[in-house]
Assembly symmetry: C2
Homo-oligomer: 259 residues x 2
């Protein structure tokens, strides 16, 4: 049964829903979340501007506000995700279902597009994403490609890998090029070593590394890139969504298409 | 004779070139410039993120730095434009050919794409821009459409108008959609009154207002929008390019195409 994002967020808020959001509210944009103190927000905004592929910013809140009106009229970012990860001085400090006790008047929320949107567009066009059939996600890798630094933030580009036949690869490039706000076109195809990737060594063991014999790996910029850059900068506190526990917005994926 | 942007910037720097940049360095991206104190920069970055059509940000400098390496290796933003407009408390305070005497350690430079790039793409596709033949620019209008506020910045959307036959209008929408970093697709077509525009009343009398009997006016977001919003916020000082005296960058227009 497909429920509306507003209903799913209400279930998160009440504590009734605590699972992964990936398989829910098909057709609606899901967003990566990063919450930072205002002192750390300017450099993050700049980092996103300079690295739009890994950090495709959809909306930024007012300091202290838990609303994100651009993504849904009733959003309470403190409670509308199934789970959050809190980091102190760059170190993981726990998973929580509600941020009310952590909330500060100077918190700024950044919401960024995620690959769930373009994966739906790929599936709708008939392209196979076999890791989804296996209940997994795309493999994540750290590259030797540096992002463009901004103030205190710097770090390597992280990527997700999806394998395709040559003709499907061309089609996947065309389709994802239409969605710059959810990572857009791939950043690399073919030889993983050219960007410093060994397919057997996934970042934090996340996702599926299989590439078939006649397939080519395509690499897209990954939303874990800004999270790693922020952790390395060690702000006193920052908060993200828990893995696969995203903000489900009222925007339709098709609204993000640039052409 | 076509000279390279680096040579044109050197001529600006030495004072040998003081004219309009529009007809020079065909094929290279020209940029709107806004220079603000660091205290006023976060809100401006946010304003650009929330209003990407009028404020398509190409690059942002480090505070105090006069370099913009993303747009050209040798840029000295204090001297590489033919002329600058300096504003104090939101009021015009004079036109200058060199900013050295005004420079502050906390100045942040914002460079934004401008419509010269998509006009070249329209011309290359054979679409007529008759105001150019008449030595003019596209008409500029203030609309009743509000931009999305960010901190101290708010104000109306300003637009440029270009008239086309119906078939050329469709083609113009397709072509400019490929260039989101230079205002992208139009924001409106047809009835000017629907966005509060009277074609006989141009903003500051800028540009050409003619629409032929079988033509449809198309309206694009205009780079004067952020300039008006910043002036209304009355920062102690801000600096822009003088009209039609842009930063000529080393980027090719075709590098900005999204598809």
């Amino acid at each position: 049964m497909i429920i509306h994002p507003q209903e799913l967020r209400a279930q998160c808020r009440s504590g009734a829903f605590t699972g992964y959001t990936a398989a829910h509210c098909a057709g609606f944009v899901q967003a990566n979340i990063c919450i930072l103190p205002r002192d750390w927000a300017y450099d993050f905004l700049l980092y996103c501007q300079r690295n739009p592929k890994p950090c495709p910013l959809l909306a930024t809140s007012e300091p202290g506000s838990w609303h994100l009106d651009a993504l849904g009229a009733d959003i309470d970012i403190r409670r509308d995700l199934p789970a959050y990860h809190v980091f102190r001085e760059g170190e993981f400090a726990g998973e929580f279902g509600d941020l009310s006790e952590f909330w500060r008047d100077d918190f700024v929320t950044f919401a960024m597009g995620c690959s769930f949107s373009f994966e739906q567009a790929l599936l709708e066009d008939g392209l196979p994403l076999r890791y989804l059939e296996r209940g997994s996600v795309a493999g994540v890798y750290e590259t030797t490609v540096a992002t463009t630094p901004a103030g205190r933030y710097t770090g390597p580009l992280l990527v997700t890998m999806r394998p395709f036949s040559p003709s499907d690869a061309i089609r996947a490039i065309q389709i994802t090029s239409r969605f710059p706000n959810v990572h857009g076109a791939p950043v690399h195809l073919g030889d993983p070593a050219a960007i410093g990737v060994d397919l057997t060594r996934r970042y934090c063991d996340v996702g599926d590394a299989s590439v078939g014999p006649s397939e080519i790996p395509l690499f897209w910029a990954c939303g874990l890139t800004p999270q790693k850059a922020v952790a390395a900068a060690r702000p006193p506190i920052f908060i993200t969504h828990a893995p696969s526990s995203m903000l489900v917005t009222d925007l339709c994926n098709s609204q993000l298409a640039s052409f």
